[in-house]
Amino acid sequence: MSVPLFRTAEKRTFTFPGWLRYILIGAIFLIAWQLYVSLSGVSQLLIASPLATLQALIADFANGQLPSAILVSLQNLAIGMGIGIVTGLILASLSTFSRFGRDLLTVLTAVFSPLPGIAILPLTMLWFGLSSSAIIFVVVFGSVWPISANTDTGFRTIGTTTRMVALNLGLTRLQTVRDIFLPAALPHILSGLRLAWAFGWRTVVGAEIVFGVAGSNGGLGWYINNARYFLNPPAIFAGLVVISLLGVLLDTLFQFIEQQTIVKWGMKQAQ
């Protein structure tokens, strides 16, 4: 089905498949990193080698510290994003169906979206105390604006024909939003979600560090910070590796969702 339209003229002998090239770059990076740590004589208290990082990863996975930290962080992210998505969709719907809703969203987005989530953390700590609610609120705050703004744009750019078909079928407002607007605006909603989760993920980890919860129920930010307090660079690196890998994983999940929806439906070109 997917005939390479523009490559036929080009004579290519042999190239590595994409994933192999990426792994190759990763491997070269790891080797360079290991060589640097082994040969430069840099203090092991400043930079952990890949091997030491791997050891820390294995050890802290085995003793349950990393799994529980991952769980806490993902839970904070999921709850925050969940509330953010619902709120964002409601705001976008209000904005679509009423003049006041549109003005409200315009003003709120203009005022609040430039605020970095971390910047409101001190405030949420006052409101919610030193609990995960404070972190979750920051994630909600950070995800609502990209989601509602993108959804709003998505709703607004739905074609006249599509709207008229919905009217012709005599759909109720709820049916129109749920069955027509949401899927029709899905490309925009998904790009809003992508922005929101990327923001949310950074915020969760950042907030957990600022938060400095010292006990044993913190997330990945806490894990890194704790490793810092106990002067354990391999664990700091292990935490960073996990945060990055989870990010890649979540992004892959998003690509999968796009593949199964808007790409399949022909609403977005496959990458």
Partner: protein, 271 residues
Amino acid sequence: MGQPDKEPIVQLSHVSLAYQHGHAQSATILEDVTLSIQRGEKFMIIGPSGCGKTTLIKAIGGFLKARQGEVTVNGVPVKKPGPDRAFVFQDFEQLFAWRTVLDNIVYALQVTKHLPRRQAIDKASFYLELVDVAAAADKYPHMLSGGMKQRAALARALALEPDILLMDEPFGALDAITRNQLQLELNTIWRRTGVTIVLVTHSIQEAVFLGHHVLVLSSSPARVLEIVDTSQAEDLDSPAFTAHSLHLQSLLVRQDKDLIREQVVPLSIVQ
């Protein structure tokens, strides 16, 4: 060949309609339009481009409100759109991209007729068969050609089993061959279903070929120039067909200022 009943299904009496452009003066689109469409006939609307053909059919569909006069369907004033007046648009995007061809129809049946899914699938399959797209039932709209999309849209409109099929230049974006084919099939379908068809076109040939009556609108603001009875002119080779075509052409040419200028120029050269 079938004949329409003598009972009117759509009636417009002294309908005037204007678009509001913000606070500026409104532009009159339809002026004092009075007509009646018989149950089971094929009623064509033709006129100079931009004159208000689409406005008229949208008024019958209930998408636009008359400023003066009244539109009635089955004797009841039209207040809003509804599935009893199923619309087929020129725009290929009228199918829901996120549903398969079959699901597009099934969904429409479920929300309008509250059919159980099994029954809705049976009915949808029947109409897909009728318009000859059964093979594409499980495909997503973006995988279909323009002609197939219009057939699927026609199937969805027919499946609603409407009183009237409102078609706004349904074949306008198709190539000539596909277009001719669909015109023939529309006739066949009309014979099998007996549905009242109101069709906007800019093709004189299409109007004469398909229509029992052809409404000719004047240039903006649109008024009724003439309603031509073309029920005896289905055969492309018949003298009646040619006569009607020439008559319609002369009516239209007089309306279209651009066309008049084109005619005047050669005359002046002759002198």
